[in-house]
């Protein structure tokens, strides 16, 4: 074979294999593709949803109170005559923001603490894990409400409180994984090759152990939305007229027999977000293990 012919052929092979790998990915791991599509759609709605709505989500109209779903109000109206569909579309932004902010920061911080605690061990580990134990020993909402009582109510303080409590789960997950993984021979081999601790932690340990944390993060998104809703219901988080799904479900409970659409549609929205993120999480976790690729 001539030398000149080689690069030409290589190019062909790569182009073909890229398509091949996309169809193969769909066959082997449809969850990741569905997850990406759904999460992208949700993010799209969070950005553009509020400008696509037919009615003002906050404006009250007592002439159309508690209307069932119809061609005019496709999801019906609530007790103040507000269009449920418009409120849900506007709610994407609020709820997704809660879900993402209250996951990303604890995710990063918790992983950092977990890595350091598990890898170095000793006094530092003891100290950090006692802090974790103390936090875990309080019921979740008691701790969050206590923090909110100190900081004062409001969306920003709700974020702070949820982040302050949320990192603990990640720290515990990652620390446990590090304790197992740091005794693997590849870590010893990496040390024998003269790698620094930082490099071993970030390049060698973290990619091996991060998948449980990512899977947890995906379900944590939905848990955070629920927590945000609960706090909103208690009047500690998202404040009244803002169309937050949890608050909408809570408001609907008085009319659950006469007007179930008040609670059903926000509930479906939460379920949609939950399913999307858990699909993405499942897909990511198998993508992160090379043996499953």
């Amino acid at each position: 074979m001539t030398v000149a012919a080689l690069p030409e052929q290589n190019k062909l092979v790569t182009r073909k294999s890229r398509w091949m790998s996309l169809t193969r990915l769909w066959k082997r791991n449809p969850a990741i593709i569905l997850g990406i599509i759904l999460v992208t759609a949700i993010i799209f709605l969070a950005i553009f949803g509020p400008s696509l709505v037919p009615y003002d989500p906050i404006a009250q109209n007592y002439k159309v109170r508690l209307q069932p779903p119809s061609s005019q109000f496709i999801f019906g109206t609530d007790k103040f005559g507000r269009d449920i569909f418009s409120r849900i579309m506007t709610g994407f932004r609020i709820d997704l923001q809660i879900g993402i902010v209250c996951v990303i920061f604890p995710f990063i911080f918790g992983i950092f603490i977990g890595l350091i605690s598990g890898y170095y061990g000793g006094f530092l580990d003891n100290l950090l894990m006692r802090i974790v134990d103390i936090s875990v020993s309080f019921p979740f909402y008691v701790l969050v409400i206590a923090i909110l009582a100190i900081l004062g109510r409001g969306v920003l303080n709700m974020y702070v409180a949820l982040i302050m409590v949320g990192w603990i789960a990640y720290a515990k997950i990652i620390r446990g994984e590090v304790l197992v993984a740091k005794n693997m021979e590849y870590v010893l081999a990496a040390r024998a090759l003269g790698y620094s601790n930082g490099r071993i932690l970030l390049n060698h340990l973290l990619p091996n152990i991060i998948s449980p944390a990512i899977i947890f993060a995906m379900s944590d998104v939905i848990m955070c939305i629920m927590e945000g809703s609960s706090l909103g219901f208690l009047g500690l988080g998202v404040q009244a007229p803002a169309p937050e799904w949890g608050v909408m479900i809570a408001d609907g409970r008085e009319f659950i027999t006469q007007a179930p659409w008040l609670s059903i549609f926000p509930g479906l929205a939460i379920a949609l977000v939950g399913i999307s993120f858990s699909m993405l999480g499942d897909g990511l976790s198998s993508l992160l293990r090379p043996t499953d690729r």
Partner: protein
């Protein structure tokens, strides 16, 4: 001195709840340039811990209690941690026993070998890749351009061990510590790996410390042999001298328990009686007493300093003269 690596009265102890385990107890030996030293012994005799001490990779609760490890005339035990970064992997590197777990499962093998090269040398990513492919070819991995993009689970055990060797040799170390690199492999692959290390050692002129419990491997590969038992060196000699003229009951026992395969007659193997000792409470004197055919009362007060049998041949048995002369 002329020795590339010299271990002097090394003591590595592990403090556990059941007491202090003397994994390596007063071990001394040296390795010269281009030499292959075999480190032989049963499981738990301190071979691996000696290697890890040389790499300074003893983890808590273990500790190097005393002794000196001279590398090119400098005591590496006195070096600060940041100096070890350029020592591990570049000057002295290590191959581990278990090739199945010694590679990072989520990185391609190519990335892992390039990382080592980039870590120790100022070199561009492309030339690191070229060198990795070259190394893969050298250790006998077919189609290195393709294989280098694959993950560890796509390699067989023997191929992974070749990858480990390629990584260990990437920066042309002066000493290679091979911690039972063939134990987890089957015999045909084992032979290939030994031949490979032999060829590379010839070509690169490095020194090798080959840890094994297989005397057949020792005979094939090593120039000199140190026999370890319960953390002590029992006998140290040239490989031919050791096989023909052993002056220690333990080494004799080991030699008698391997089949020679040379005669067609039915040959009876003589095993060493008993079990390796509990390292937490060793008997007084020589640790081999309970299993030794020749031991007598004076052995309980024996110290284990190495006595010269003839130049270059040392034995820790205080009665070797009585027994064999």
């Amino acid at each position: 001195m002329g020795d590339l690596l010299r271990v002097e009265n090394l003591k590595t102890y592990f403090k556990t709840q059941n007491g202090v385990i003397k994994a390596v107890d007063d071990v001394s030996f040296s390795v010269t340039q281009g030499e292959v030293l075999g480190l032989v012994g049963e499981s738990g005799s301190g071979k691996s811990m000696t290697c890890r001490s040389i790499m300074r990779l003893i983890a808590h609760p273990g500790k190097i209690v005393s002794g000196k490890i001279w590398f090119q005339g400098e005591d590496i035990l006195s070096w600060p941690m940041n100096r070890l970064v350029n020592y591990r992997g570049a000057q002295v590197s290590m191959i581990l026993q278990e090739p199945m777990t010694a590679l990072n499962p989520v990185q391609t093998v190519g990335l892992q070998i390039e990382e080592t090269i980039i870590q120790h040398e100022r070199i561009s990513k492309n030339s690191a890749r070229d060198r990795s492919i070259e190394l893969f070819r050298k250790v006998g991995i077919p189609a290195p351009e393709r294989r280098i993009k694959e993950y560890p689970h796509q390699f067989s055990g023997g191929m992974r061990q070749r990858v480990m060797i390629a990584i260990a040799l990437a920066c042309r170390p002066k000493v290679l510590l091979a911690d039972e690199p063939t134990t987890a492999l089957d015999v045909t692959i084992q032979d290939q790996i030994i031949r490979l290390v032999e060829a590379l050692q010839d070509e690169m002129g490095m020194s090798v410390v080959w840890v094994t419990h297989d005397l057949g491997v020792v005979a094939q590969l090593c120039d000199r042999v140190a026999v370890m038992y319960a953390g002590h060196i029992m006998e140290l000699a040239d490989v031919i001298e050791l096989f023909e003229n052993s002056r220690h009951p333990y080494t004799r026992g080991l030699l008698e328990s391997i089949p020679s395969g040379e005669t067609r007659e039915v040959q009876k193997l003589i095993p060493i009686q008993g079990q390796p000792p509990d390292l937490c409470n060793l008997p007084a004197g020589c640790p081999f007493i309970p299993r030794c055919r020749y031991s007598d009362k004076s052995c309980t007060s024996a110290d284990l300093t190495l006595r010269e049998v003839k130049p270059g041949h040392l034995s820790a048995c205080k009665r070797f003269e009585e027994i064999w002369n």
